[in-house]
């Protein structure tokens, strides 16, 4: 098994005028080439931080991050990162947005444009190429952001709650699309999500993180029967129900909550909403 991503003893603390906040604590994680891993855990447990570390956007306070055996020291076009929202530039049309990676590398040209056009068509965006982001639906924009990320043909795809702002149906469609794309290209993927169903349906392994500071609580392997199927179909597998219930049980336990504890939530801060 080739290891594509490796986090060894990674800790990270954010330092600011108010002091230091430990976001990730002594994390060890290997992701094999072509593997699809999901990260789930309560808000503020360090999921985005882990993606940022993998992408080389921030340097770990301690430990090392490796990409295919080499230390990650900064952003690298081999890694594609899709942020929680689409962050398409509103002043560029979809095609120009998708081409930005080439523009930055200085390699925008007929070849790059042909590749982007092909991808846009593949993602059902051929007709929207000249339109501006605000003219598109949320689902189309997420797809455009995906095209932008995939256009430079990354080996690794990092996805930070890519579907959380979307409608149920669009969500199911995009899950299938991403899953297929990742499989077809043999891309290694790390998905952060709050939706346990999504995590279970899409990935080979689900990593459950403890409440902050981020430590791995458990890792759950997804049965082969579910892994073999598209996410939207996986949900109809007989094994899916039990898997999902096991996952939720683990989360509710790990977070000290569970039925009947509702009134105690006042002490639990949620940095997101």
């Amino acid at each position: 098994m080739d290891v594509m991503l490796r986090l060894s003893g990674v800790s990270h603390a954010y330092v600011g005028p108010g002091g230091a906040a430990l976001a990730v604590d002594g994390l060890n994680l290997d992701v094999a080439a072509g593997e699809f891993v999901s990260l789930v855990g309560p808000s503020g447990c360090g999921k985005t931080t882990i993606l940022n570390l993998l992408a080389g956007l921030i340097k770990p306070s301690r430990g090392t991050v490796e990409l295919a055996g080499e230390k990650v020291s900064g952003p690298n076009p081999r890694i594609g990162y899709m942020l929680q929202q689409d962050y398409l530039f509103p002043w560029r049309n979809i095609r120009d947005n998708a081409l930005i990676g080439f523009e930055i590398a200085g390699t925008r040209g007929p070849e790059a444009e042909r590749r982007v056009d092909r991808l846009l068509a593949e993602f059902g965006l051929a007709g929207a190429a000249r339109r501006f982001p605000h003219e598109l639906s949320g689902g189309m924009r997420q797809r455009a952001a995906l095209v932008r990320t995939l256009a430079r043909e990354p080996d690794v795809l990092l996805l930070d709650e890519p579907f959380s702002a979307l409608d149920l149906l669009i969500r199911l469609q995009l899950e299938d699309l991403v899953w297929e794309t990742v499989r077809a290209r043999g891309v290694t993927a790390v998905l952060v999500t709050h939706d346990l169903e999504e995590a279970a349906a899409m990935s080979d392994r689900v990593v459950i993180l403890d409440a902050s500071p981020g430590r791995i609580r458990t890792v759950l392997d997804v049965p082969a029967s579910i892994r073999a199927r598209q996410p939207s179909e996986a949900r109809w597998e007989p094994e899916f129900g039990p898997l999902f219930h096991r996952l939720r049980g683990m989360i509710q336990d790990s977070e000290g909550g569970g039925p009947g504890h509702a009134r105690g939530a006042g002490t639990q801060l949620d940095s997101r909403a």
Partner: protein, 274 residues
């Protein structure tokens, strides 16, 4: 059948909405004209019945005649063009200069912290009192006038645009960095275009400020221009001339403002609907 009934009431709604909107627009136009007419009539009456001094306030008829004469004699246009050219130069330079300065501050955060108190003090300097410095630096001529206008606009432009630069959602910068973009590319691809609406809307403010700056500049030193006409009008105690010039200024400034609004509306549509 239900489809058709449905369409008919929706059309009716649309029709009602449109005619209401048209009525309001008409009302607004009528009120605008009425306000203007009332002002003119009040002015004329006030002067004629001696409530206010004709010497100081002139009156609309006289001003119209003066404007007609000026236009006929062919001197109104050159004066206006001079001032418009100076104002345009001043506000383009002020906006570009302010943007460039803002870029500098964004690029070097330490510089921005160092310069902060200086900018504040410069901003509250009465530029009128700096007249002699402009004359020394740029000679008694167009350059001084344009620089006065620039001095009035540049600091506030810098502060506004720099503020906007810093407000750009960090995630847009992240997108560029993720593709290995340099700091220059981050600025060029994300920060600058993301601030374009703000830059254009400071243009709007700067149109007004540049007019003030140019008129003040023409008070310092000028051979022609509307500010020159004003100061000359004061000199020869011809307030009709002063007020006529002010009216031309108002009209031209409104036109320039309208042009900037047009530019704003022409911005890539993605900008507007955010």
């Amino acid at each position: 059948m239900p489809e058709e009934r449905e369409h008919s009431w929706i059309r009716e709604l649309e029709h009602k909405y449109r005619s209401r909107a048209a009525r309001i627009t008409l009302l607004v136009r009528i009120l605008q004209i009425a306000l203007f007419a009332a002002f003119i009539i009040l002015w004329e009456t006030a002067v004629r019945s001696g409530w206010i001094d004709e010497l100081l306030f002139s009156y609309p008829g006289k001003i119209a005649r003066m404007l007609g004469e000026l236009a006929a004699s062919g001197s109104l246009l050159p004066h206006t063009m001079t001032t418009v050219a100076e104002t345009t130069a001043g506000f383009v330079l002020g906006t570009l200069g302010g943007t460039a300065l803002a870029a500098l501050l964004w690029w070097f955060p330490v510089v921005s912290r160092v310069l902060d108190p200086y900018l504040v003090v410069l901003n509250s300097m009465p530029k009128v009192a700096l007249g002699p410095i402009f004359i020394v630096g740029f000679g008694p001529g167009y350059l001084s006038i344009i620089m006065t206008a620039v001095s009035v606009t540049i600091i506030i432009t810098t502060l506004t645009i720099y503020g906007r630069f810093r407000e750009i959602d960090a995630n847009y910068l992240k997108v560029v960095r993720l593709f290995g973009g340099t700091r220059g590319q981050v600025f060029r691809l994300a920060v600058l275009p993301g601030s374009l609406p703000t830059i254009v809307s400071t243009l709007k403010v700067n149109v007004g400020l540049s007019w003030v700056g140019v008129i003040v500049g023409e008070f310092l030193t000028a051979k022609s221009g509307l500010g020159y006409l004003i100061i000359y009008g004061f000199q020869v105690f011809n307030f009709t001339l002063v007020l006529s010039s002010l009216i031309v200024i108002g009209a031209v400034a409104a036109v320039m403002y309208g042009l900037v609004s047009l530019i704003e509306a022409r911005l890539s549509p993605g900008y507007r609907d955010r």
